[in-house]
């Protein structure tokens, strides 16, 4: 086995580990707050996890991926779901109930195009559109200081821009995007260091200052 493949395998294993950590943490959070956002992240991460497992098996030489029709592979189905999820999520955030089924039906036809005619160009066009729409989600996540939403959109943007997972460069980028997803959704690193609520911070500081002053006076 070449060093490059070993490196690839290591990346996939760490990614799987991180994704399982995300799953665990998201489930815990969901049990506490019963928030739909956690459910969304849970299923989204499961799809990414399945894709990563397929890649790992491919690298080991035990391919579990299969092709249906012209060129529809299990991996393509998972990527389609990965980019459809955030679109539906944006619609959910905007409460546009009437458009919920639009990304799903679009994905169905894109899947059909790959199944019947192996039309990858339509898929690439769809991925580009999803990336552009995800910029809006990233902006919303940034604006609302929500690390999870921001990192999910960043993950989708990165994966939409680099769909070919065969190269080392893309594999490393994907790996970093999973680390970002982990930072955003589980560890709270992003919320703690990047999306600091300045008003809340100021309020806490003021409480501490007043406490200290009271103690000094006493």
């Amino acid at each position: 086995m070449s060093e490059q493949i070993e490196f690839f395998i290591a990346i996939q294993i760490i990614s799987i580990f991180l994704l399982i950590l995300i799953e665990r943490s998201v489930l815990k959070k969901w049990k506490k707050n019963r928030n739909n956002l956690e459910i969304f992240v849970f299923f989204f991460t499961i799809v990414i996890l399945m894709g990563t497992i397929i890649r790992l098996f491919n690298l080991i030489g035990l391919s579990i991926d299969f092709t249906i029709g012209g060129g529809l592979t299990l991996y393509f189905i998972l990527v389609l779901i990965t980019i459809t999820f955030p679109l539906d999520f944006i619609l959910y955030l905007k409460q546009l109930k009437r458009f919920y089924l639009l990304p799903m039906i679009s994905s169905l036809y894109i899947g059909l195009a790959i199944y019947l005619y192996n039309l990858i160009s339509i898929f690439i066009l769809y991925a580009i559109i999803c990336v552009i729409i995800n910029l809006d989600l990233a902006y919303k996540g940034w604006k609302n200081r929500n690390g999870m939403v921001f990192m999910i959109s960043i993950y989708v943007i990165i994966n939409g821009l680099f769909p070919n997972k065969g190269s080392l460069f893309v594999s490393i980028i994907t790996f970093f995007s999973i680390i970002l997803l982990y930072c955003g959704s589980t560890s709270g690193f992003i919320d703690k260091y990047f999306f600091v609520d300045k008003e809340e911070k100021q309020r806490l500081q003021n409480i501490w200052i007043s406490k200290i002053l009271i103690e000094e006076k006493a």
Binding site: K97, R98, F99, Y100, L101, I105, S106, Y109, L119
Partner: protein
């Protein structure tokens, strides 16, 4: 021989009547729609959907007249119109059954599904333009047509809506024409009956239920 002559006469008159009375009935429905908008200041979305369904049928009838019995009709024009790969006839029928399904979803207030039939049908059209694939169209029309008839009757009796029942009766008559292809005499009789029904419906005489479902936004 006499039977064929009779059939030809019936065909000619049914096409002419369709081309004249169905657009006229659609115009009446449209006029009523705008009149209601003026008096209430709000759009009645159920009326809009019904109007659009009949508008599609009006277009279909006018084009059908021109390609089948009018002086400009040619066999090639007729073949192009009745082609199963999104020829005019199948396109308008597909649009009509999609609108019928929207009406069901709208009356039942299933908001997530409101535009789903249009997305599906629109996707099919775009897919055809890109790839030439049309195999789902015939199946879609028949399947959604049957769903329409069943659910429109069901919904109409459940919410006691005249509009839904009217469209259900109309769909039953129009859809039977597609299914009974080998009985030309019966088809012509049905055509005359649905022309009569549409006029009756558009003039507002079809009111088996006293109340009317209105959904304004």
């Amino acid at each position: 021989m006499e039977e064929e002559v009779l059939l030809d006469i019936l065909k000619f008159y049914s096409e002419v009547f369709s081309a004249v009375f169905i657009p006229l009935a659609t115009f009446i429905l449209g006029w009523k729609l705008f009149k209601e908008r003026k008096s209430t200041g709000r759009w009645n979305y159920i009326r809009i959907i019904i109007f659009n369904t009949f508008l599609c049928f009006a277009f279909l009838s006018i084009i059908e007249y021109f390609v089948t019995v009018s002086p400009i009709a040619t066999p090639s024009l007729k073949d192009a119109f009745y082609q199963e790969n999104f020829g005019g006839y199948y396109f308008f029928i597909g649009l009509m059954v999609s609108l019928g399904l929207i009406l069901i979803f709208y009356i039942n207030k299933w908001e997530v599904l409101y535009f789903a039939p249009l997305y599906f049908f629109g996707g099919m059209c775009v897919f055809y333009l890109f790839t030439g694939f049309y195999e789902w169209l015939d199946m879609y029309i028949k399947l959604v047509g049957i769903i329409n008839i069943v659910f429109l009757y069901f919904t109409a009796f459940r919410v006691k809506d005249n509009g839904a029942l009217g469209v259900a009766v109309f769909f039953s008559l129009a859809f039977s024409v597609i299914i009974i292809e080998e009985m030309p005499f019966v088809i012509r009789i049905i055509m005359f009956s649905y022309i009569g029904f549409i006029i009756f419906f558009s003039l507002g005489y079809f009111k088996p239920f006293n109340q009317e479902v209105m959904k304004n936004e």
